[in-house]
C-alpha cells in the first residue's frame, strides 16, 4: 500500500509554502538585524517578504476560528492546539504580527519572534513528513 505516495504528495503541497515563508523570514530578519545588504536584499525584497508572510499568517489566524478551514491548515491548527501555547495567545500574537506586516516599517523583534514560532509549526509538519520518506 502506498504510504510514501501520499507523503510525497503532501510534501509537494507543503514545500513551496515553507520555502517562501523561510526566505521571507530570513529577509525580514536581515532587515531588522541590519545585515540585509550583505545578502543583496533590497526594499522590494522586504515588501515582497511582508506580503508572503501576511498571506500565510492571515489565513492561519482565520483557520483558528473557522468551522471549515482550508485543508492545508488542518494539520497546522492541530499542531498548534497540541502545543504549549494557548490558542488565545496564538490569536493575539497572529493579529499583532498581521498588523505589523501591513505597515511599511520593519517588523519588531517581538513580531519576528512570533513569525519564528509560525515557521517552527510549518517546519515541524514538513520535517515530520520528510522523516517518514527517509525512513522507508
Amino acid at each position: 500500500m502506498s504510504t510514501l505516495s501520499s507523503i510525497d504528495g503532501k510534501l509537494a503541497r507543503e514545500k513551496p509554502r515553507l520555502l517562501k515563508f523561510t526566505l521571507a523570514l530570513i529577509a525580514l530578519g536581515a532587515q531588522v538585524g541590519g545585515y540585509a545588504t550583505k545578502l543583496g536584499l533590497q526594499q522590494k525584497d522586504f515588501e515582497k517578504g511582508r506580503k508572503t508572510l501576511f498571506d500565510v499568517v492571515v489565513p492561519l489566524r482565520e483557520a483558528l476560528d473557522q468551522e471549515c478551514p482550508q485543508i492545508d491548515f488542518w494539520p497546522l491548527v492541530r499542531r498548534m492546539k497540541k502545543g504549549k501555547k494557548s490558542m488565545e495567545d496564538w490569536r493575539k500574537d497572529l493579529d499583532m504580527v498581521a498588523t505589523q506586516l501591513q505597515l511599511k516599517e520593519p517588523v519588531t523583534d517581538e513580531g519576528l519572534s512570533i513569525l519564528d514560532e509560525v515557521h517552527r509549526v510549518l517546519e515541524a509538519e514538513f520535517s515530520q513528513d520528510l522523516r517518514r520518506l527517509r525512513n522507508r
Binding site: M1, S6, I71
Partner: protein, 370 residues
C-alpha cells in the same frame, strides 16, 4: 550552530556535485529518460541556488540559515534514495513495465505524462513531487511476470493526478468540512487530512478507470491485510478498508451490478466484515453519507478535470469467451478478465496468464522476441 551549518555547506557541495555527474551519466546511458533528467536537473539548479544562499547566510552569521536545511534535504533525499537508485539499476523488467505504463497513462487521461521511471522493488509507491510529468513508480517485482496486484498501479496513477490537479483535494476537504459542520462535529474532520482524502480519491480513480478488477483487488488486499476493516487508525495513512472497499463499490459502473465476479468478491468481503464490529468512531468518521458525498465529488472532478479518462464500462465476457485474447485488448481488459478467471476458474488462471504475458512481451519487450 553556525559551525554545523558551515560543515553542511561543504557536505552538500559534494553531494550536489555527485548528483549532477550521475544525472549526466544516466542521460548518456539512457537517452529515453531525457525528459525526466531535464526536470531533475532543473530541480538541481534550484537546490544549488539555495545551497549558495545557505553559504551567504553563514558568512553573514545568520542563524536562520538552519531553516533552509529541510528544504535542501527534501530534494537530496528524493534524488539519492529514490530517483538515482531507480535510474542506475533500471533493468529489462523495469523497462517493460515502463513502456506498458506509458501507454496506459494516456488511456487514463494522464496526457501530461512524458516519461515514467519504474523500479520493481517493493510495494506500490509513486513520486511525482519533483515532476508530475515524469513520475517514479515503485512496484512489486512480480509485475514482470504476473498480473497479480497490478490494478494497484491505477491507484498510483491517482496520486499523480492529485499532484497535477491539487484542487481535487481542496474540493474533497470542503465536502468533509461541510459534512461535519452540519453534524457539529468539527473535531472529526482532522482525521480526513490531505493524505487520507488523497488515498480515498486514488481508490475511486482506480476503480473508475480499471473497473471491477480494482474493486476485486482492493477486497483481496483488505482480506490479506488481516486487519480490522473498521479500525480508524490515526497512524495509518489509509482510511479503514471497509471505507475503501465501500467507495470502490460505489465508483463501479452500474453495468457491473450483476457481474458474478463482483458479487463473489462482495460476498467474500461481507464475510470478512462480519467477523468484526463497527464502533462509534467508524460510524462517525466513515459514515455512508460522508463516503457517498466523497465518491460523488471525486467522480465529478474526474469527469470535469480529466475528460480523457475513460470510465471502464466493458462488459466482462461470459465463460466461453473469457480466455480469448484479442489484438485490441487493453491492460484494463486483461486485468478484468484475469480477475474473473482467477476467482471463478482458478484452475485455468496460470495457463491464461502465461498467454497474456506472451502477448504483453511481444508488444512491450521487443528485445525478447528477437
Amino acid at each position: 550552530m553556525l559551525e554545523y551549518i558551515k560543515a553542511k555547506v561543504a557536505d552538500y557541495a559534494v553531494i550536489l556535485s555527485w548528483i549532477e555527474q550521475e544525472l549526466q551519466d544516466i542521460e548518456t546511458r539512457c537517452p529515453e529518460h531525457h525528459p525526466l533528467i531535464v526536470h531533475l536537473q532543473s530541480e538541481l539548479v534550484d537546490t544549488k541556488g539555495l545551497h549558495d544562499y545557505l553559504k551567504e547566510l553563514v558568512e553573514a552569521s545568520d542563524n536562520r540559515a538552519i531553516s533552509l536545511i529541510p528544504v535542501l534535504e527534501s530534494f537530496i533525499v528524493l534524488a539519492t534514495a529514490y530517483y538515482l537508485p531507480a535510474l542506475q539499476k533500471e533493468g529489462e523488467a523495469d523497462r517493460f513495465l515502463r513502456r506498458l505504463l506509458l501507454s496506459v497513462a494516456k488511456q487514463c487521461g494522464l496526457n501530461w505524462v512524458e516519461d515514467i521511471v519504474v523500479h520493481l522493488d517493493g510495494e506500490h509507491e509513486t513520486f511525482s513531487r519533483l515532476s508530475v510529468e515524469t513520475p517514479l513508480i515503485l512496484a512489486p517485482p512480480q509485475h514482470a511476470v504476473s498480473l497479480s496486484d497490478m490494478p494497484g498501479l491505477y491507484h498510483e496513477f491517482g496520486h499523480n493526478v492529485l499532484r497535477k490537479l491539487p484542487g481535487i483535494v481542496d474540493v474533497l476537504g470542503i465536502a468533509v468540512s461541510e459534512h461535519f459542520a452540519k453534524l457539529r462535529k468539527g473535531d472529526s474532520l482532522e482525521y480526513w487530512e490531505i493524505g487520507r482524502l488523497g488515498e480515498l480519491f486514488c481508490d475511486i480513480f482506480a476503480t473508475f478507470v480499471c473497473g471491477p478488477a480494482h474493486y476485486v483487488s482492493c477486497i483481496d488486499m483488505g482480506i490479506r491485510s488481516d486487519c480490522d476493516p473498521f479500525l480508524v487508525d490515526d497512524g495509518d495513512a489509509h482510511p479503514p478498508f471497509s471505507a475503501r472497499v465501500y467507495v470502490c463499490c460505489k465508483s463501479l459502473n452500474i453495468i457491473y451490478g450483476n457481474e458474478p465476479v463482483v458479487a463473489m468478491a462482495r460476498d467474500a468481503w461481507e464475510s470478512c466484515e462480519g467477523t468484526r464490529d463497527r464502533d462509534e468512531v467508524f460510524e462517525l468518521v466513515c459514515s455512508e453519507a460522508l463516503l457517498d458525498c466523497l465518491v460523488d465529488a471525486s467522480l465529478r472532478c474526474i469527469q470535469e478535470l480529466l475528460p480523457n479518462a475513460k470510465y471502464y464500462s466493458t462488459p466482462l465476457p461470459r465463460d466461453e469467451e473469457l480466455e480469448h485474447i484479442t489484438e485490441e485488448m487493453s491492460l484494463e481488459d486483461m486485468l478484468n478478465r484475469g480477475a474473473k478467471i482467477l476467482f471463478m476458474y482458478p484452475e485455468r488462471y496460470a495457463g491464461w496468464e502465461e498467454k497474456i504475458f506472451k502477448r504483453l512481451n511481444s508488444i512491450y519487450r521487443p528485445d525478447l522476441s528477437v
